[in-house]
Subunit: 342 residues, 2 copies
């Protein structure tokens, strides 16, 4: 039987042979991946993507094991594209090329795979990035959970000045959007919690929001996207690395009342809940207002807020000034509260 | 409890919290990954690695799900480094930077993880590449099988002329080493087959063999490493893409008698068995002998052979001239014979 004679019906399940590297793998690549993700570099199907660069590039990797695969506001495909794009943006780069590595459990519905790949294609297009190389493995039933995705990415660095070492006392902390939506969206979907308050993941590619800002100003000293562990964990990473302190004001943290209510119902502190479409920015005192105004003109930045500032003491600590007027230390996440969130 | 007070005993198992992005993730990164893989770029622990480039780069990705994790001649860590290095070399690049994405099953022995990371470190050092960015996810027991690894890689392209389009009739096919060792090593280990003939995987990074050749000559027209699906599948990829035919001579294919015997005992055609340390090269007729002599001076190339040539007819087909004097069509692998081989 030659390649042309093999027909894969749309309802067919992914088999071990789809990961063999042989005929069925080739057919799967052509019929599913190339069909959806086609571009001149990927369609070469060579062992490595060849990319023209004359500049400093950024290179990142992220694996995605989210469960369930589909949740309000996103899916594992969208997440894998946005997550890697955001990692590149955080270091001052323009995301350009992504790789796509799939580990698929035997028996996965082909329809599910196509839905995921189509989502990857859509969100890559929207963000202006291309998937230029990929790999697919299939493991036996029970050896993985449906599908895991790795996306690595490269991009041109347009702002070489972004570094934790630039941060100093008095710098302002900006949150570009509402917190805690991704984690709650995945959790409530997974547990089938019908709280009458549907929460959508904030999952989004931040390059269209932030790259124009990077082109316009050198005011951003440092950025990080507060994914697993939430803003509490990311702020602690910043204080630990910089040796400085951070004070944030609870009243300024952008959060919807829905998220606040659901967090309270579930007994989870929203500061520790994963985000997938916001960034924490450290910006010089005098530039903060201007950056904020710029961010707010974009749909992804319309809820941006200055939430606090960098301080000398307490060294290495994050302090929350609560709405009640008290202060408390916000530590890093120490245990897994929400597994398989991304 | 602060970071400094948390102690992880060497025998501790990987928990879900190790993949949370929080404290235990940080500790794991510092104690296991940074300790073993430390380099200035990785130790920045930024969201993306920043790499200086002024040239054309190659970028590739590969996931590894091999079972068992340790096998004669290698392990999943060595495999993940060598596999990605080889993919870069195949397109004419000098491998330089790798990413490392881990998906770990909760309950994995820390010792096993350290052994794998140490192997990654060792083989990356030997090959002169650095792991510059990484990601770790942990999934619940039963949602993965011990550990899956994704390595993506980038490298400078030093030979821009390597392309399937350069191949023409009369070109010679070189195999750089003995075939079918990786697949058999993994399979016999997995099945605990004691055939009295222990076979070691050929798993090896090919950059030290091939990069000097790329610097010396433009004679190599095309290369591919025949991993899953074996040399039969890779040769078919070449004929399908080029629209040309290939004739190979069985008597010239480098294979040990041990491999031949074990393949026969197991009833598997060695042409379809995965390799992880050899390349198929298409070389101009007049340069083939010179390339062969160069390869043979290196331990990884000492068994190199000219195994066949590119022909016009039969278009898109691979023909094997057997030692019995007959000819047969060698098709691509159509079913999964050896799952979880890489």
């Amino acid at each position: 039987m030659t390649a042309k004679e093999i027909k894969i019906a749309p309802q067919q399940k992914i088999l071990l042979a789809h990961g063999s590297g042989g005929r069925l793998t080739h057919k799967l690549i052509r019929d599913v991946f190339l069909k959806s993700l086609n571009n001149p570099i990927l369609s070469e199907l060579s062992d490595s993507a060849k990319i023209d660069y004359k500049e400093k590039i950024a290179f990142t990797t992220d694996s995605f094991v989210v469960s369930p695969l589909f949740f309000p506001g996103g899916d594992i495909g969208k997440l894998s594209v946005c997550g890697t794009i955001n990692d590149l943006v955080m270091v001052g780069a323009v995301p350009e090329y992504l790789s796509l590595g799939l580990i698929i459990e035997e028996g996965l519905d082909r329809e599910v795979l196509e839905k995921i790949i189509n989502s990857i294609s859509l969100h890559a297009k929207r963000a202006g990035v291309v998937i230029v190389t990929g790999d697919t493995k299939v493991v036996e039933n029970g050896a993985a959970d449906k599908v895991f995705i790795n996306t690595s990415g490269v991009g041109r660095i347009i702002n070489k000045g972004i570094s934790i070492n630039n941060i100093k006392c008095g710098d302002k902390i900006i949150l570009t959007g509402n917190i805690a939506e991704h984690g709650l969206a995945v959790l409530t979907k997974r547990k089938d919690l019908d709280l009458g308050l549907s929460i959508k993941s904030d999952c989004a590619a931040l390059n269209n929001l932030i790259v124009p800002l990077l082109r316009r100003t050198k005011a951003i000293k440092f950025m990080r996207d507060p994914t697993r562990g939430g803003i509490a964990t990311t702020l602690n990473e910043i204080t630990e690395s910089s040796g400085l302190g951070i004070i944030i004001e609870e009243k300024n943290i952008p959060i919807t009342s829905k998220v606040r209510v659901v967090s309270e119902l579930l007994g989870i502190d929203p500061l520790y809940i994963a985000n997938e479409g916001i960034a924490i920015m450290i910006v010089g005192k005098d530039s903060a207002k201007g950056v904020l105004n710029f961010l707010r003109r974009h749909p992804l930045g319309c809820h941006a807020q200055i939430v606090g500032e960098v301080v000398k003491q307490p060294k290495g600590r994050v302090i929350l000034k609560t709405t009640l007027g008290t202060e408390r230390i916000v530590d890093m996440l120490t245990a897994e509260s929400l597994p398989r969130i991304c």
